[in-house]
């Protein structure tokens, strides 16, 4: 499976006046199951717009998003369903992405039912428990009756991942999925994400401004600035031999625990 963005551009009308904002300019990107791809850049660089393009959430101004060579815009109903099942999202701020009035069990169960992954009550419950198990929220019985506000930030983030993987996707688009978490929880969620790659072959497009994390977990990096991908390459190459001045300045601004005397 190959998820591809080809020469994608997205222009928004500016809020005031007749101006236009080109949020993404002729971007090219590839993601595959089992691969950890990162998009880094600062706020306003267009990285979240690119994430939403990958998810088919906003129409493109030009270019295309393709899954195994079939453009999203040309997909029939069945193909579109296939795409929706296989490309899932985990977004930042779990409290904003979860319905505060639904229990965790209902939140995940609904997805299972809507996508007809299981149809019987028992079948749905089993799927929900399995997904919660994958993200380490065990025993599942302790969590299905809880509401989002009864969970910690890290647990809520895990619920979002459970909700994404319950459909057994091949690629997860994660937009700032760990940025708001404490170090220990962040390490836990990243480890979980790596584990899902090993066990289920999940691939990631990981959008973040957190460079140390990228260095640690990504295999391939795209650097975005002002809507353009200014540099791309294997993680090692980007971190050891960055060519673009912007990438260099990003790397130079990362703070270290070990302060020189």
């Amino acid at each position: 499976m190959l998820l591809e963005v080809k020469d994608a551009s997205k222009t928004f009308r500016a809020r005031r006046g007749a101006g236009q904002v080109q949020a993404v300019k002729a971007a090219n990107l590839r993601a595959r199951p089992g691969e950890f791809v990162a998009i880094v850049g600062e706020s306003g660089s267009g990285k979240s717009t690119l994430a939403r393009i990958l998810l088919g959430l906003i129409p493109l101004s030009s270019g295309s998003v393709e899954l195994d060579g079939v453009a999203l815009s040309a997909m029939d109903r069945a193909q579109r369903r296939h795409y929706r099942l296989n490309v899932q999202a985990v977004l930042q701020d779990p409290s904003g992405s979860l319905n505060p009035r639904k229990t965790i069990g209902r939140t995940i169960g609904e997805i299972v039912r809507l996508h007809k992954i299981a149809t019987t009550r028992d079948g749905i419950d089993a799927k929900v428990a399995e997904a919660l198990g994958h993200v380490g929220l065990t025993p599942a019985a302790d969590f299905i009756h809880r509401f989002p506000h009864e969970l910690s930030g890290g647990q809520r983030q895990r619920v979002l991942i459970a909700r994404a993987i319950v459909l057994n996707p091949q690629i997860i688009i994660a937009d700032e999925a760990v940025s708001a978490l404490d170090a220990s929880v962040k390490a836990g969620v990243l480890k979980l994400m790596n584990g899902l790659t090993e066990r289920l072959g999940v691939g990631y497009v990981f959008i973040t401004h957190d460079l140390p994390v990228v260095k640690k977990v990504a295999q391939y990096v795209y650097v975005m600035k002002s809507g353009e991908i200014v540099e791309e390459g294997p993680t090692k190459q980007i971190f050891e031999d960055a060519r673009h001045p912007y990438t260099q300045s990003l790397l130079a601004s990362a703070l270290s625990l070990d302060v020189p005397a």
Binding site: A183, S184, A187, K191, N194, L211, L250, S253, L255, L257
Partner: protein, 292 residues
């Protein structure tokens, strides 16, 4: 009597969480800040570090069920139980504050220059009952902003996040306070902007000899900005010492665990490590003695 500029002892803060429930967010905290000293408070979310920061700036919610016990003294002046007017005085002269999200602390319908002007203390006012334009621009320039004359005429929403945070620093230092309390001042900013804003904050407090209390979950920020650090867990201070020593040779099991997880995110040869639940229970037991 002590010579410390700020002396906090046995600080306890209880907050209501429901009609008949409350939590003790801060449980017996002692800390001190000397004149011109740069002190960090680190901890995870929920550790009580922000509530401590709010308590020492007198900015806890004005709710009779919010209870503060213990002692907070500025230059020997007891502030626990003090009237709101006394806190106003402290905040208008002695303590400046910078918070994570500048947009909520800036007035959206007031020009930036005017907001800085309001922060300049009465003693410096001219006959027009307001600080001079010159002084306003001077303060804005001090925090590394350029084209200050134009900038002073703009509204907060016309500025970028980094610029807004600088304006907030400008407002905090405009009254030349003795102490600045900065709670996650750069957490919402991009890495390159964070580096610049921290440099600005660093240079400004150095130049003015202002003491700094920097509250953050980001150990790297604290490592780069402070001389001494307090580590908080479950509303308590579990370890304190010179920042460099605490971060290189932590003594408390919690600090050790926290550092191990932080380093696992950056060090190449170590596996990702999060504090396992059993260890957390042990730390809980050790820190709280079973009382939360």
């Amino acid at each position: 009597m002590t010579d410390s500029f700020l002396e906090v002892e046995g600080l306890r803060v209880r907050l209501p969480t429901g009609p008949r429930r409350e939590i003790e967010a801060v449980h017996s905290v002692a800390l001190r800040v000397e004149r011109g000293e740069r002190v960090g408070i680190v901890g995870e979310s929920g550790s009580g570090k922000s509530i401590t920061g709010r308590a020492i700036s007198g900015l806890l919610p004005a709710n009779p069920r919010v209870r503060v016990d213990g002692s907070i003294r500025f230059g020997g002046r007891e502030m626990v139980g003090a009237l709101p007017r006394a806190w106003d005085e402290i905040r208008s002269q002695t303590v400046g504050m910078i918070f994570q999200d500048p947009s909520t602390f800036l007035n959206p319908v007031m020009k930036v220059g005017q907001q800085v002007r309001e922060a300049i203390p009465a003693g410096r006012r001219s006959g027009r009952n307001a600080a001079s334009d010159e002084r306003v621009l001077e303060v804005l320039a001090l925090v590394g902003l350029t084209d200050v004359a134009q900038l002073a005429q703009r509204f907060p929403h016309e500025l970028s996040g980094g610029m807004r945070q600088r304006v907030l620093i400008a407002i905090a230092i405009a009254k030349t306070p003795d102490l600045i309390i900065a709670d996650e001042p750069t957490t919402a900013l991009d890495a390159t902007v964070q580096a610049k804003v921290l440099t600005t904050l660093d240079e400004t407090v150095r130049q003015l000899g202002t003491a700094l209390v920097l509250i953050s979950h980001d150990l790297a920020v604290v490592a780069n900005m402070t001389d001494r650090v307090y580590v908080m867990y479950a509303g308590r201070i579990v370890e304190t010492g010179a920042t460099r020593e605490v971060l290189s040779a932590p003594q408390h099991p919690y600090t050790q665990a926290l550092l191990r997880s932080v380093r696992s995110l950056t060090d190449e040869d170590t596996e990702l490590w999060s504090i396992p639940p059993e260890l957390r229970r042990e730390i809980d037991e050790l820190v709280t003695g079973g009382v939360r």
